[in-house]
């Protein structure tokens, strides 16, 4: 069992770390949205997928439609796609979600779930289910030989960039005045509104920001995963387990649990590959048995 080569181990750990970055980004977005809107955004995976498709479309389809000078490269997509999906998220919040706040949170969950089905169905209708390739940008091709393993540059970039976004988001929410307002809004929106804070606007922008985070993850995932309509749905199942394990309480919880579970999954792939797809759910069951509120969550 322990005759596994250093190379294979490190490679799987890297894959695990990258997956962990996506788990962290997605569950962080879910946590932020849940905090203010009290809605589990079931459309999160679909929004992630749409961003990946937008990057691919800007690169592969837009030039065919409008001419080669309209080719959207990776860096531009990394800015534009999150803005677009975030904007669409804001439209969704303004038109449909905001009608549901006075109801049981079940309805928000069902509505976003319906949105997810529509988005997935639409992309499946037009693009089929086979994956589309999206190459990493020129700048990040190739890799570095670290002696004990080969590190592809793009993957290193994904890890570093994700960690930066996680850190910035954490700082924004936990250490700034804006973050303090948002957390206060989570605790008692009515009181904050009485102080003259524009709560509806805050909610709208928070939803947009959470969705945009999923968008960033989607664009970054495009060169690694095959771009296909179900890429988000498959990931989201695991992210829900991550959320349950971490507890939706804190952004820090989302980041740590996401990264840790990615690594656990990578390790399982090395030592017992058959269990790799279930290990996250098994961990979730164990955590629920011992700490029902999750590792970082507070029992309400």
């Amino acid at each position: 069992m322990f005759d596994i080569s250093m190379n294979a181990l490190m490679a799987q750990l890297l894959v695990g770390l990258i997956n962990g970055c996506f788990y962290a980004l997605l569950s962080m977005g879910l946590a932020i949205i849940f905090g203010l809107l009290n809605i589990i955004n079931f459309a999160h995976g679909a929004q992630f997928m749409v961003a990946a498709f937008l990057a691919w479309m800007g690169f592969a389809q837009l030039p065919l439609l409008l001419g080669p000078e309209f080719k959207i490269n990776f860096w531009l997509a990394l800015i534009l796609a999150p803005l677009i999906v975030g904007g669409l998220g804001i439209v969704l919040e303004k038109t449909l979600l905001k009608r549901l706040y006075h109801l049981d949170h079940l309805y928000g969950l069902l509505l976003t779930f319906g949105i997810a089905l529509m988005l997935e169905g639409a992309f499946r209708h037009f693009y089929g289910i086979s994956g589309l390739n999206y190459d990493p940008p020129e700048l990040l091709r190739g890799g570095i030989d670290l002696d004990f393993m080969f590190l592809p540059t793009y993957r290193a970039f994904v890890v570093v960039f994700s960690l930066i976004i996680c850190a910035v988001t954490w700082y924004l929410f936990e250490r700034t005045k804006l973050g303090a307002l948002l957390r206060a809004g989570t605790e008692n929106a009515k009181l904050l509104q009485a102080f003259g804070v524009n709560i509806p606007l805050m909610i709208t922008l928070t939803y947009g920001f959470g969705v945009a985070l999923a968008g960033v993850a989607g664009v970054m995932a495009a060169p690694i995963m095959q771009v296909n309509p179900l890429m988000g749905a498959n990931l989201l199942n695991i992210v829900f387990a991550v959320v349950v394990i971490g507890g939706l309480g804190s952004i820090l919880g989302a980041i740590f649990t996401g990264l840790a579970l990615g690594l656990v999954e990578g390790l399982t792939k090395v030592f017992y590959p058959e269990a790799a797809t279930v290990v996250v759910f098994v961990v979730m069951a164990l955590v629920l048995l011992t700490r029902p509120a999750g590792m970082f969550g507070k029992e309400k």
Binding site: D104, G121, H125, V282, L288
Partner: protein
């Protein structure tokens, strides 16, 4: 909400004293009995499928509509009951295993899985509960993909239907149809009985006001777990019957899409209504039947139905109908100023 459940001895024999959902069941039973004679109007195998999914949705409704727990994992019970019954029938029916035992085994497996998932999931409430059921049912799905005897992607085909009570040959669609109909009626009555029992009232209480239910002395975790297992068991009945009807236990039955379909059926028909889930099941299956050729478009339509339902028709078809009837009734009451007009209400959806 609480009335119309138990008729007193004096009225026990009059038709109007029978609770509304059961009355509808009795009325519908007449055309339902005639289905095998007019296959050109209603194709029996399709109606059997509707009955199976209708029962599945009713079992689901017991949980979501009356206990307020939203499970995203009911496909695990439905699918694994089908696998159990299908597997037993394929391997042991030729050696003389009765079909009743195979169905019972399917139900037991579903109940056991229900116990495991339920015991873990009720440790969390609200949306967490839903996410836990979803994540745990993924384990059930992975086992279905990887276990050697489930047939993986292909599923189990050619499940023999066997002989009921040893002498009724179920391989004829007509015999199978009456068997499914009987099981559906029994399942419907059982659910009706559960809802209107003291246990059912306790479930409604813990749905509407858990703190108060605790203060009244109910062990709400145990109530939730029992409700979950009952729902799983009945979903198992539906799954076993479906495997026999279509002679197929497929991977699709344990997938998330089946869990969400049953959710849509219940939501579309009306949460917490007596007949809503069945109406929803009939509607969704009919839609799928007609739109099967369109591929991805079906998903769009199903998603769109979710959005429209949640945004505009939260009570579902039957729920909205009941609400409309009630409004008219109360208007009439005001007109005649007679406060004693009884309105049969079964609404308890939110």
């Amino acid at each position: 909400m609480t009335r119309a459940s138990v008729p007193t001895a004096a009225q026990a024999f009059s038709f109007t004293s029978i609770p509304m959902p059961v009355r509808i069941l009795l009325v519908l039973l007449v055309p339902a009995m005639l289905v095998p004679f007019f296959p050109e109007i209603a194709y029996p195998v399709f109606i059997m499928k509707v009955l199976c999914f209708g029962l599945f949705a009713l079992a689901f409704n017991l949980l979501i509509g009356f206990t307020g727990l939203v499970s995203f994992g009911h496909a695990a019970f439905f699918g694994w009951a089908g696998y159990t019954t299908g597997g037993l029938m394929i391997h042991y029916a030729p050696k003389g295993l009765p079909v009743e035992i195979a169905i019972l085994a399917g139900v037991l497996v579903a109940t056991a899985i229900g116990y495991v998932i339920g015991a873990l999931a009720i440790r969390r409430t609200g949306v967490y509960f839903s996410m836990v059921t979803l994540a745990l049912s993924q384990i059930a799905y992975f086992f279905a993909v990887q276990a050697p005897w489930t047939g993986g992607e292909d599923g189990m085909q050619g499940v023999p239907r066997g002989h009921l009570l040893g002498f009724i040959d179920l391989s004829s669609d007509t015999a199978m149809y009456y068997f499914v109909l009987a099981v559906f009626v029994l399942g419907f009555l059982a659910i009706h009985r559960i809802i209107h029992s003291p246990f059912g009232q306790a479930l409604k209480a813990l749905r509407d006001n858990p703190a108060r239910a605790i203060s009244l002395g109910y062990d709400i975790d145990r109530c939730k777990l029992y409700a979950f297992m009952l729902s799983a068991a009945l979903a198992g009945v539906a799954g076993s019957m479906k495997a026999l009807v279509l002679q197929l236990a497929a991977l699709n039955d344990v997938m998330l899409s089946t869990s969400t379909e049953v959710l849509l059926m219940t939501l579309l028909g009306g949460l917490g209504t007596g007949w809503g889930p069945v109406v929803g099941a009939a509607l969704v299956l009919t839609l799928q039947n007609y739109l099967a050729a369109l591929g991805g478009v079906v998903t769009i339509i199903i998603g769109f139905t979710f959005v429209v339902c949640v945004s505009f028709f939260r009570l579902g078809i039957i729920g909205e109908l009941q609400a409309a009837l009630q409004r008219r009734e109360s208007k009439k009451q005001h007109a005649h100023s007679s406060p004693l007009v009884e309105t049969h209400s079964e609404t308890s959806g939110r």
